[in-house]
Symmetry: C5
């Protein structure tokens, strides 16, 4: 994720070159430029094809395309923001579980506290790994048998919740907690399960292929028609301004494609590794369990900050 200082206009523009997507975009815009030059040469030099496309038609297509691109932008941003929202909820639910356990467990039950702190902290790490197809079991803090169970499980996040629920149920059977406490824990366990489900949904269900395809086809047709329309009014100046138009349209689609998968490692994606470590720090702090300093440091933002 890139964090930036809102007020500074030129510095924001300057960091243009930091994104990896930009090279692909520029290559595509260059391709459009080549096409435009070809059209201009054929039409203007040899007058081979005296085409006249009405402005009103161009305006109509332009408005339709603009609205579709804003639709695309909105849906992509909604997915991004929903991803951020549920990770925020994950922070709250992990803390909430820790706060409940902290109030119930005796002050000096250091082992129980460490056990739960580790168990809760593993959940965001497992979710992060699950979303990036790379669960790193060596990062987890748990007894070898739990690690083994997680590795054998269909889904490590679901398995972690099952282990958590089992140990809470054992607390109840040992009468350390009241049956009512089960209901006090429930919203948090439910919330963690939901966060898991929403993240899986965002990851596995892109915007329907029809729309992706349709918008790309539309832009391709529009860019194909554009030089013929603009040639009449702008002459050779058509070439750079059509490239500017292509830059805008292609840019919007490419940003949308980058944003709508917010759990990757692109520069605009959500800092879920850092959030997972932040949850670990917070949970250990609430449960009063010491966490080694180098683990705390992992919660520091790995952002590239644009000032």
């Amino acid at each position: 994720m890139i964090v930036y200082k809102a007020g500074d206009w030129w510095r924001a523009l300057w960091h243009f070159h930091t994104s990896s997507v930009i090279l692909l975009l520029l290559r595509r815009v260059a391709l459009v430029g080549v096409y435009n030059i070809a059209v201009a040469l054929v039409v203007l030099r040899y007058h081979a094809v005296p085409i006249q496309l009405g402005r009103e038609y161009f305006s109509f297509l332009g408005i339709m395309l603009s609205l579709l691109l804003v639709f695309r932008t909105n849906t992509a941003y909604d997915r991004y923001y929903e991803g951020r929202r549920v990770w925020g909820q994950l922070v709250s639910h992990c803390r909430g579980l820790a706060i409940e356990l902290n109030a119930i467990l005796p002050r000096d039950a250091a082992r129980s506290r460490a056990y739960y702190a580790a168990l809760i902290s593993n959940f965001p790490l497992a979710l992060k790994g699950h979303l990036r197809n790379n669960v790193r079991f060596e990062q987890f803090e748990a007894t070898p048998d739990i690690i083994g169970r997680l590795q054998a499980a269909d889904s490590p996040t679901v398995c972690l919740l099952a282990v958590l629920q089992e140990s809470i149920e054992q607390l109840r059977q040992a009468q350390i907690i009241d049956p009512v406490h089960l209901l006090a824990f429930k919203p948090h366990l439910l919330g963690m399960m939901e966060v898991n489900g929403v993240c899986e949904r965002i990851k596995s269900t892109p915007i329907p292929f029809s729309y992706t395809f349709f918008i790309k086809m539309f832009i391709t047709l529009f860019i194909g028609i554009m030089p013929f329309v603009l040639l009449a009014s702008s002459g050779y100046w058509m070439i750079p301004i059509t490239m500017v138009g292509a830059y805008i349209m292609l840019g919007l689609v490419m940003i949308a494609e980058e944003i709508e998968q917010p759990f990757g490692t692109d520069s605009n994606d959500l800092p879920i590794t850092q959030l997972a470590h932040k949850i670990r720090v917070s949970v250990h702090d609430v449960l009063n369990v010491e966490l080694p300093h180098f683990k705390k440091a992992l919660a520091a933002p790995p952002y590239s900050v644009v000032r």
Copy 2:
């Protein structure tokens, strides 16, 4: 459902031909072409009807139509996404129920565990069958008397929830679970009931007929007017560009119609069969019940992947 690699532009366009809707669309666009040629011949050749329609009028209609098409696209996409969202919730609630039961049932109560794993797993299969008007009772895992009850029921999904509730109530009466556990199960049973209701709603209530009709009438009028407007400025070139415009408008309506019923078996519909099998795998895994390998394999994505 089609899953695609976002970055590749040309391959995305290439897979154009895989959709079954496209033939109908192309036939309609061809029809528009025939109409345009007829208009061009009559107006240009014989100068029979010297019509001049103002551009500003055309722009006004175009903007209104664009906004309506975006409205149509939004409502269709909302229905699609709501369908996906509730199936995601179904995954979470089935897992949540399994996690609760797993914590309560003794480790060695293999029969009880298998019973609940089967019962919960049947729900998404029944819902899928219900949404596709084709419940396949032979896929269910249950004792013959439950199967019989399901077949006699008004709605198999509601009947399954009733059976589930009954057996949970029996656990309470046998004092295997605390009364408070009823409340821990409640959100999941409530959630499954709601998912069932939302899916039924999406299936049975299309966007009001007035709007479907109105947008189709509007497009028909617009396509009817278009050649007269564009003939003055573009001549015979009007024919292909009007067809491009018709392709855009008809395409948007047809995609919307395909997307807004997300539970069918079109190539853009939701993979609910695979999700139902994925829930079965997950629930059996949590409850520690062995599932035959060929049943696990059904959870693999039946997507046609566009690379």
Copy 3:
């Protein structure tokens, strides 16, 4: 409600004439035609008023009006869809209540079961009657004293919920249900109350008068200005095309007015009578209470199906 087969374009247009709103719309469009002819005669024939209104002005008004009409369409559709959503929730909550009671009541308590099945089934019927200002107490299944209480009550739906709550409380005092069961019933009773509230709100609170008035005034002014703008560019052709424009604008407003009150008996309104009967069938089925066949038949869709 009209249910239609999405794919067929011409049949959809054909069913144009089935709506009762259409006659009013056509009469209004004809009125616009008369006005246009008058304008054309005065301006073109006698050159009495050589008015020239700028296109850019017409475009500006057109865009503003289009956006307002889409705003109107959105709010109307939201009300329609919210109405449908809460009736879907009503289905779920009535079933959920039946499922809870079914699990608790002994299999052979036929009388209790019939009592609750009738009581729950009355609620959607009462709500339907309440929304259409025509509660038909003879449709209810209840003892005469409950019917009497309902007839005397300020609101029959609220009174039914009060009766339901009383009898559940009696179950608790008779120790047939655990106190915790009260909380298992609670979400459903709360849900039914909320559905009642939302339906009352949709029925009693239209979109603010200012907006209704403002949009009508805007359309009136716009249609008044339109012929002067289009006369210069289109001549007598202005008459039919202005009528097409008027058809679009008036049509959108009239559909919005029809849709935003979704509980009436217009052809686009929600089939709440059928939904109420469907709930009755489902609740009796879950509680294992026989329902006469002619009552089951009432749940069949009274749609006019457009194929």
Copy 4:
């Protein structure tokens, strides 16, 4: 609040003059007319300033302004509708509380029933007074010591909820209700608290000043530029049509300002006095407490009905 019959177009326009905002609007439009005449005289008569402003620029500003006005309209309408939604929830929660109490309190506990009916009924009256900065304690039904406590309190609505909670807690300590009943009451008390909070928020937080200011500045600039653009194409006809445009823009802003504070006593505001009295009638009815007829009559709609 104005209630209207949707279908009648001319009567709706006729009631134009009933609003008090309209005089201010007409005065502002007249001011714009004076400005336009001055511009026309100076530019056309003396040819002093041969200004030519491009249409494309005017279109661009027009679209931007239209979109901003729709944004303004949407946010204002959302606030209006949110206000209506929470008052609907208030109706439901007050009724729900009454239904719970009715089921628990013995049929013949007339005094307790009257006490709670009065207490619950006071809440919407207090909220209404709070929102209109005019709490009328003489309308309340309560013992003098409760009235005194309310008058001394920082917020009468919060104080009423505190009194309600105290007396429910006393019921529990007197073992008239089970501890579990506390949780059955909880959603309603929580809901009433939330309604109070949402209403306070809507009342105290307008749309940010920047946007209000920005849109007013934009309209002022746009109306200032408009005559110069339209003079070239429309001549003196520019004067009336610019006034029509000003009427549209100023009207939208003024309606938004009227709607976004829905708790006042403007003709488009929510009928919260009537809703508060309706809740009183409903609560007394459920708890089976007689309410004097003149108090019932206060629930009748004070609408001016537009037929």
Copy 5:
């Protein structure tokens, strides 16, 4: 926060100069003016570059940019409004907690009451400090050991909730409260945790850098192209009108940047200090704990009121 009287147009415009952002905006508009003059001199005087850019192209870019700016405005306003909504919920939850405690704690338990009143009141103060990176522990009312614990904690708000939960758990262990009361407290503690999470999310996650950058780049390109387009139709008048256009576009972006971080101390930001003090007054009032007058006075609005 600026509170204003809605009806007065000129006074609203007059307060233009109160904002600190305005100087930066005017400086940027002046820069655009300098650029325009340079373009006009080069193009008109020396006819060096006979550029002709088509209007239809300009319109297309203008519509796209307008839609993107409205998207930007919407997302910024949503963040602002979400911030306000959760602070409203915070008010409700703090009051709700106080109401629950007030009903349970004996009337004369002055010390317990003061303890809880202080503890709850500290939460909004801590949250405010956390959001402004400046927690002022000397403002808190708590015993030194709690202050020490807060200062050592990773997050003071989370720590406060942990302390609150601990003391509620102690009440339960001392049997002052019933286990069921834990669940009555739960929604409020959950709500406070969520408010904390939402505020942290709004603070730490800006709109993705890609969009911020993209919109700035687009505006820069658009302002760069604008004078060439308008020069042909408007001549030197292009200079002021392009500056008006730049003022609109830059203004929208800058307001969005100011609004989307609603927890700062800008003049349009939320009055969270005042809200925190208002909560303190309300909580002390409910729990019947005397609060010094000077602390009450802090709840008075620090608004600059625009009349």
